[in-house]
């Protein structure tokens, strides 16, 4: 057998099995947050209450469309869906329009979204630090935007 080095097999499965959506209708993973939805629409994709949209990804529904800063996507029937008089917004249809990759586990009701490409453009094109929010070991939130006026080195490492 190969020499074990930085092996923590006991940490692979240290938790008791439990349901992810025991008290919710769906779970979203985005930007390091775990967001629980109390309701979702039926059918393909992830249909959310439009009121939840802004708190999930910062997009707002406006007369000109669904918008984030200067980016607006016109609203159409693929994005806004009415079921039994209730309006739903398709988060997955928006992701597809924006080229935002995601992975879904339908059985568990979890959608994990990668970053929206338009939100990364300022880094990819202009080399500006990404809009990143981290929580340190003391529980303090560290935002890249709060570092302005100082030089910062952000360095990754690992125990392995």
């Amino acid at each position: 057998m190969a020499e074990a080095f930085m092996a923590y097999p006991e940490l692979r499965s240290p938790f008791e099995p439990k349901a992810i959506n025991a008290d919710s209708s769906a779970t979203i993973l985005y930007q390091g947050r775990t967001i629980k939805l109390s309701s979702r629409g039926d059918g393909d994709g992830l249909l959310i209450d439009p009121i939840d949209l802004q708190s999930i990804n910062g997009f707002e529904i406006k007369p000109e469309g669904v918008c984030y800063e200067d980016l607006c996507v016109p609203l159409d029937d693929s994005l806004m869906i009415t079921q039994a008089g209730q309006k739903w917004f398709s988060l997955t249809a928006l992701a597809e329009l924006l080229g935002q990759p995601f992975v879904v586990d339908e059985e568990a009701g979890v959608w994990s979204f990668a970053e929206i490409p338009a939100k990364r453009e300022n880094m990819m094109v202009n080399a500006m630090a990404p809009d990143l929010e981290l929580t340190d070991r003391q529980g303090k939130v560290v935002r890249m935007a709060d570092l302005k006026g100082k030089k910062a080195l952000i360095v990754t490492w690992s125990s392995w």
Partner: protein, 214 residues
Amino acid sequence: MPVWQRIYEEINDPDFVLICVAEDVGGEAVAGPIFDAANPTYIQVIDEDHLVSSAFNFVNVPSAAWIDESGRIVRIDEGTYSMIHTFGEGEEAIAFGNDVYEPALKDWIAKGGDSAHVQTAKTVSSHIRQHSSDQQKADAAFRLGNLFRLHGQNDKADEYWQMARDLNPDSVNFIRQNLTLTEEGSAGEQFRTMMGEYVSSGKDYYRPLDIENV
């Protein structure tokens, strides 16, 4: 991590922020004691979901970004070492790391935009890895695997961690993190095989370091 505490103390500049980020699914249990042993006064983050690597398109540790006062990245994605490390002896000795990164960093902190090590936005942009849609999807799959682990659903965790590795085979982070949670560990036969293939295919897990001695 003691090395970063030393560097941080030597720089001793109130306008310099050092953020050390542990990319570790094992969380506080594995990364916490390593941080604590360094008695750190810099910002310490334990990043179980590897969000920082994802945000900067890093594929290995240690990697870093230098960010100036305006929020612009002025260097990125280089093996972030302070010395040359050697393991083993004779012909089997393996050396990695470098001894030019630390002086270059200190030069930048002292001189700011006048440092020869500051790169233009155009250069930095060209140094940021271009990740495909599948590679970005791999980040989402990895986090989904972590969520299933936290809920004790280990088969699902394995399924999505493997998906992440398949979607982004360039990520040394994903394969080593995954192997860390096995009996074989992060530097066993699977790892050596994978790294042999990785290097022989001409891939770099850090950008080539182009720092002259300072």
